[in-house]
């Protein structure tokens, strides 16, 4: 019988801890460099570009954390056994949400200062025209900020509570804690579903204030889930390369996580197709405008490439069971899908600047992403320090260590 001991093998490598602060510094510098590069892209639109880029990168990290939160809650609510050894890392990823909330402050400050670089609706009713003017009752700086705070607080409370309870079980080993989280995760999922959908409407959909799509939140969520599984598997691989978690996470877990990632990727394509199909078919100008923005100014290449990169190629690549059970294959496709998710976030946000797509723009944005991701990674390291990476006294640990994938 394999046992998980609460020792160094389930902690992050010692060398990582000292890297957190330098990574935050690197991150801030990278964001600065991207600011400078965006100046070269377009001096006139620099604030627009920087703020959109910042939002796209923040959403890139935020969707991953939100995906982690959903994963944890679902594992509890369905009494899942297989995931007992991998759940803790997802808890840690999700527990970064309160810290990521801090990164929202620049956006809120911009709104309070009345800047329209990011959200075009941040103006008085008289200055706006069309439908955007009608929406000032809902889309205005204070209500938007209030809602953002509410979403972020809901998530922060959920992740902190779940993480704390789970940590308590590490010490006491009480079975009742599992039952307790199980009991409350149902209602928490309801809260989650509502807030995630509306957050997506507010933060990303309202970039184009007159456009709307009811499936938008689901689409963002599906993409986030794909990115979350990719991140989690890459982290496990990295930790195992550093000699950690070798007993706790085995090929069966990778196989299962790849399957779910594969499934969510299909779901992402399904949501994207549903949204596109209905608007393409009905062909109503106010609805197709969003897609029009994405095929103008040179953004069309990105839009078409995204279909292949995010769906068709990984679909064919991950179809085989042998790939999903092969570490190299899994790591390759996880990295690939993270890139795809990055492209998806660019596709969601950047065309709204109406600045023509260019190589320099992508490089500037990529440097911004590197900055944001290193800050995100630093947060992760800080959150993971002194926390066992496996809930080593979870009552379902035995099942997670002994199960095997039957066929698929």
């Amino acid at each position: 019988m394999i046992q998980i001991k609460n020792d160094e093998s389930i902690r992050i490598p010692e060398s990582w801890r000292s890297k957190a602060i330098p990574m935050i510094v690197v991150g801030i510098i990278a964001v600065g460099i991207s600011f400078f590069l965006f100046r070269l892209v377009s001096d006139k639109d620099v604030m627009k570009l920087v703020s959109h880029s910042y939002l796209a990168n923040l959403m890139f990290c935020m969707t991953i954390a939100i995906g982690a939160m959903f994963f944890v809650l679902v594992q509890y609510v369905v009494r899942s056994g297989w995931s007992a050894t991998v759940r803790r890392l997802a808890e840690i990823i999700s527990s970064v949400i309160p810290w990521l909330a801090m990164l929202f402050i620049p956006i809120l400050v911009m709104l309070v200062l009345g800047r329209k670089d990011l959200y075009e609706w941040n103006a008085s009713r008289e200055e706006l025209h069309g439908l955007a003017a009608e929406k000032t009752g809902y889309l205005n700086w204070w209500f938007f900020s209030l809602r953002s705070v509410i979403y972020l607080s809901i998530w922060s409370v959920i992740v902190t509570w779940v993480h704390r309870m789970s940590r308590r079980q590490d010490e006491t080993g009480e079975v009742e804690i599992t039952l307790k989280i199980q009991k409350y995760s149902g209602p928490m999922i309801v809260l989650f579903a509502l807030s995630v959908s509306f957050a997506a409407f507010d933060w990303v959909m309202s970039l184009q204030a007159d456009w709307y799509s009811t499936i938008f939140g689901v689409y963002m969520f599906a993409g986030g889930m794909v990115a979350f599984f990719a991140t989690m598997m890459l982290l496990f691989d990295l930790l195992q390369r550093c000699g950690k978690l070798r007993d706790a996470v085995n090929v069966e877990h990778f196989h299962d996580m790849s399957k779910i990632m594969f499934g969510f990727n299909m779901f992402w394509a399904y949501c994207g197709f549903s949204q596109f199909m209905l608007y393409w078919y009905a062909d109503i100008p106010e609805e197709t405008s969003w897609f029009r923005t994405r095929i103008e100014n040179g953004w069309d290449t990105l839009s078409y490439v995204l279909i292949a990169v995010h769906f068709i190629i990984p679909f064919l690549g991950l179809m085989s069971r042998h790939v999903r059970r092969n570490r190299v294959g899994v790591v390759f496709w996880c990295a690939w899908l993270l890139v795809a998710h990055w492209m998806d976030m660019v596709f969601m946000v950047m065309p709204n600047t109406h600045v023509p797509a260019s190589g320099l723009l992508f490089i500037a944005h990529l440097i911004g992403t590197i900055g944001m991701v290193s800050i995100f990674a630093a947060f992760l390291i800080l959150r993971a320090s002194d926390v066992p990476l496996v809930a080593h006294r979870d009552p379902r640990l035995r099942e997670a260590l002994t199960y095997s994938n039957p066929i698929l």
């Binding site: 019988m1 009494r79 056994g81 297989w82 439908l131 009608e134 929406k135 809902y138 079975v175 599992t178 039952l179 199980q182 149902g186 309801v190 579903a193 509502l194 959908s197 509306f198 409407f201 709307y212 799509s213 009811t214 499936i215 938008f216 939140g217 689901v218 399957k259 299909m266 399904y270 949501c271 549903s274 949204q275 199909m277 209905l278 608007y279 078919y281 009905a282 109503i284 106010e286 979870d394 009552p395 379902r396 640990l397 035995r398 099942e399 002994t402 095997s404 039957p406 066929i407 698929l408």
Partner: protein, 476 residues
């Protein structure tokens, strides 16, 4: 440990984390499972079966007579009138297709998620899927007006038409989606039944029975090589059926959503229709299986745990449907599209307010009762709630179809839909067809996937053995 074990025997809905509750109760052996399931078809049917069959068979006869009358008279006997041309028949179609979805979800999606509790209920649910698709397929078929020319929808090289179907129309996608769904479900169902039909063959007392079940089971022996290909094939079919089941109601939703009609044209429709379909389908499974397990004494196979799990799915999908209603309503307001917001206000407070509030109370409020364990483990209550859910889901399709259509863009063509007696009798008749098929299924075919239940029992025994620590004896 002993006390926990006994508590499982009493109530397997309680699960201690780290130890799985048994899915089959009452200390069953492989032989007793065979005996229990086979006796459903081998023993003389209970009186209630004959009563139910007589009722549903006469309703089915009425249904087919009405179809004949409809073909003779034309669709004018229905209440379909300008501007509501898609009325009851299409509502019934969407309703029945939705019912069908639970079967595939149980047999394919839960299979992929390794939800072993599916094994006791998947066979009946799959059968229900096929019968519901049969009912569903009839309605658009007779709604086309000249039902005898419905085959024009298939792309066949015609000798006298010299034309092809219109693949840019969502209604044609429907033809493909529903017929693919029917075919794949049938194959999946039959495939799953082969080992159990072999069991029936081997237990046959009469030559005729042996011959018929023998032909149906294709000469199955239970050879390991066969099992291996069979399991692989079953898994592949499950993997194919999972996106298929999503696609079917998605395509049904496209029928509505690709149009420009307010209340139909909204991007959440595809996943929202799928959630609603699963919701109504599970409600129908509950409605059917609670009496079936009682009448045939299958309580040890279809345990309270199975029913509770299904009720949880009803709760989840019901809440998803509620979330979709809320999102739609919010978006109708947020879009500041006058037509959209009018449509939604008209739904809730217009002439069809009663249908809307039946829908909301049955679909959103009713399943919320399942938050309470007491309510979701009471057989009588769950049947009542599931019937309400089915009523609510029928009304959901009614609300979507009729309220949007009755308010045209041109106020002068606004109207109010009134069903005729034929509308109502045909809906009732379709239930007769559905129930007749289901009763015949119970009478002649294996109602529970015996082979799968046995496999799950074996897996559970393994897990228990692991727990006891005596795993040296067997291998994995």
């Amino acid at each position: 440990m002993a006390s926990i074990a006994t508590s499982f025997e009493i109530d397997n809905t309680i699960e201690i984390p780290g130890r799985r509750a048994p899915l089959v109760t009452g200390n069953q052996t492989l032989g007793s499972v065979t005996e229990m399931v086979s006796s459903v078809a081998e023993r003389p049917q209970p009186k209630i079966w004959y009563i139910a069959f007589a009722i549903s068979f006469s309703m089915m006869v009425m249904f087919f007579s009405l179809i004949a009358y409809l073909i003779y008279m034309g669709v004018g006997i229905w209440g379909n009138m300008s501007p509501v041309f898609w009325a009851w028949p299409i509502v019934n179609f969407v309703f029945w297709v939705g019912i069908a979805h639970a079967g595939t979800l149980i047999s394919a999606v839960l299979f992929l998620f390794r939800q072993n509790w599916r094994t006791s209920i998947n066979r009946a649910a799959e059968a229900m899927t096929i019968f519901a698709v049969v009912c569903a397929g009839i309605f658009p078929g007779i709604h086309v007006g000249r039902a005898w020319l419905a085959f024009w929808l298939t792309p066949y090289p015609s000798l006298n038409l010299w034309m092809w179907p219109q693949f840019r129309s969502p209604l044609l996608w429907d033809v493909f989606a529903v017929s693919t769904y029917a075919s794949v479900s049938l194959m999946f169902w039959y495939m799953g039944m082969i080992p159990d039909l072999a069991t029936y063959r081997d237990r046959s007392k009469t030559k005729l029975r042996r011959l018929i079940y023998g032909i149906l089971c294709l000469g199955w022996t239970g050879s390991t090589r066969h099992w291996m290909r069979y399991e692989k094939a079953y898994t592949i079919l499950a993997a194919l059926a999972t996106p298929l089941v999503l696609s079917v109601h998605t395509v049904v939703s496209f029928d509505f959503a690709v149009s420009q009609l307010p209340g139909w044209h909204t991007t959440i429709f595809p996943p929202y229709f799928v959630a609603g379909a699963i919701f109504s389908g599970f409600a129908m499974v509950i409605t059917l299986l609670v009496p079936v397990r009682k009448i045939y004494g299958l309580e040890h196979l279809i345990t309270m745990r199975h029913l509770e799990n299904m009720n949880k799915i009803i709760l989840v999908t019901g809440s998803l449907v509620g979330l979709a209603y809320a999102t739609e309503f919010f978006m109708a307001w947020y879009s500041f599209n006058g037509f959209e917001s009018y449509t939604f206000i008209n739904r809730a407070f217009g002439p069809y307010w009663w249908a809307y509030w039946i829908m909301v109370s049955c679909n959103v409020i009713c399943p919320q009762l399942f938050w309470f364990k007491k309510l979701r483990t009471s057989p009588v209550l769950m049947v009542i709630i599931s019937i309400f859910v089915n009523i609510g889901m029928w009304f959901e399709r009614f609300v979507i179809t009729v309220t949007s259509l009755s308010r045209d863009f041109l106020p002068s063509s606004w109207g109010y839909f009134r069903p005729t007696i034929f509308d109502m009798l045909m809906l009732a008749g379709s239930f007769g067809l559905f129930m007749t098929l289901f009763l015949l299924f119970c009478r002649f075919l294996p109602t529970i996937a015996m082979a799968e239940v046995k496999g799950v029992m074996s897996a559970h025994a393994h897990a228990e053995a692991h727990l006891a620590g005596d795993h040296g004896q067997h291998h994995h």
